[in-house]
């Protein structure tokens, strides 16, 4: 399937297209998304009800939807949906003793609220699905799109992700040792050698087509595995490549989800040391933080790279050639591992 357009809201300046030229450094363990001025695209009456998750997703999707009158489906991946609104709603249930509750928090908090909102705003009555497989939610959204194209049930699809930082989740994950306890700069994150990572958020949207006309990139395949043994991950990656008629040497660039957590970054070393020693190697979580659907940002990044844009310095671990065939390897907490293969559209 081919990527015709991309759009992104993240802790970097992706909403205005400046991300590839200049990156923003962060200190601390929360990388919050930089949101654009939504008032030009979302009616005030709608905007005032939206939590950050819905705002980011809508703000990221609308620039694509506005020019697209024929869309065969909206497929999103989100681990948590509007978690902040969900928690507000649950607190209301307790505070008001299961009495009369306000509808807005509930309506906006379900994971599929964004896909529903987008369908209503674009008057799109076609296929509408949200995948919620935690750290593989975006991979499953891509897989859904691949299957629809393969079965010729769609020609054009909007596929994307959204996940937000919620105070509640952040506090729980902090107690579970998921985030750094020390103040650390994003420039030093990947070499920190300490436990935990940093929390991020964002939304990436992709207009996908079954045809290569005007494509900026091609998403060739996606696969995932849960709770693998160390030795299984190499075999899994090899199987994925050979399924697509490739060997490791055919991959010129790898984007890894390295996040500075010494407990789980070894997975990336395992794969790269064994299979991709000489290839370009890029990171992205030192730019946008860790969140369950962060691989969507990596896909956005890969699309920009194969479209000919130069990688920001902060993302380069090793670079020796122009990226044309990119493998994204990402895992969530060392439990859910995903591979996404992105190629230059004319290859």
């Amino acid at each position: 399937m081919y990527v015709i357009k991309t759009s992104n809201i993240s802790p970097q300046n992706t909403h205005n297209g400046q991300f590839m030229q200049q990156t923003i450094s962060y200190t601390g363990n929360k990388y919050s998304a930089i949101e654009p001025d939504y008032t030009a695209m979302i009616r005030p009456a709608q905007l005032r009800r939206m939590g950050k998750c819905i705002r980011m997703g809508t703000g990221s999707a609308l620039p694509i939807l506005q020019d697209e009158d024929k869309l065969d489906g909206i497929i999103l991946g989100s681990s948590e949906g509007g978690l902040e609104d969900c928690i507000k709603f649950l607190i209301q249930i307790v505070d008001y003793n299961e009495g009369t509750l306000t509808p807005t928090n509930f309506v906006q908090s379900t994971p599929n609220a964004l896909a529903g909102n987008l369908a209503i705003m674009s008057k799109n009555k076609s296929y509408n699905t949200t995948h919620v497989h935690r750290g593989l939610a975006f991979e499953n959204a891509l897989l859904d799109a691949l299957l629809l194209f393969d079965e010729q049930k769609a020609e054009t699809l909007l596929v994307g992700n959204v996940d937000e930082i919620s105070e509640y989740n952040f506090n729980i994950e902090t107690k579970a040792d998921q985030y750094k306890k020390e103040e650390i700069s994003s420039d030093e994150l990947l070499n920190s050698q300490t436990s935990g990572t940093v929390c991020g958020e964002g939304s990436s949207m992709f207009l996908l087509s079954s045809k290569p006309t005007n494509a900026v990139a091609q998403i060739v395949d996606v696969s995932h595995i849960c709770y693998p043994q160390k030795e299984e991950i190499i075999a899994f990656t090899n199987t994925f490549l050979s399924k697509n008629g490739l060997i490791p040497a055919d991959i010129d660039s790898v984007i890894v989800g390295r996040n500075g957590d010494c407990k789980t970054d070894f997975w990336y070393d395992l794969v790269c040391d064994e299979m991709f020693k000489t290839q370009n190697l890029y990171s992205f979580k030192n730019l946008v933080g860790e969140y369950p659907t962060a691989s969507a940002f990596a896909t956005y990044f890969a699309c920009n790279l194969v479209a000919g844009k130069k990688a920001p310095k902060a993302s380069i671990i090793h670079e020796c050639t122009v990226p044309k065939t990119i493998l994204i390897y990402n895992h969530f907490k060392g439990e859910q591992h995903g591979l996404i293969l992105v190629k230059q559209s004319q290859l």
């Binding site: 005030p44 009456a45 005032r48 009800r49 009369t100 509750l101 306000t102 509808p103 807005t104 309506v107």
Partner: protein, 87 residues
């Protein structure tokens, strides 16, 4: 609390509950229509929020939906209903 005070308080609650960040309390008058093309242009979800607000803040329940059309006209009518029904 007299009616004027109640109306001022209601306006502040409306702004908070409905997240009307575009408005200051001074910009909302007691006779400004809540629904329709003029005034605040609220919608059906807002009406539910207003009903919840009246119950939580003033202990006043609006159980008959047809009553809502007469009560949720503007801040004046809401204040009248609260004064008449507050225990």
């Amino acid at each position: 609390m007299d009616k004027e005070q109640l109306k001022k308080e209601l306006i502040n609650h409306i702004i908070t509950y409905l997240n009307l960040s575009d408005y200051t309390p001074e910009e909302i008058t007691a006779d400004m229509p809540l629904f329709g093309d003029a005034g605040l242009e609220l919608d059906s979800i807002d009406s539910l929020e207003l009903i919840v607000m009246m119950e939580r803040e003033y202990g006043v329940k609006l159980t008959n939906p047809t009553e809502g059309r007469k009560i949720l006209i503007d801040v004046n009518s809401m204040a009248d209903f609260i004064i008449a029904n507050k225990k």
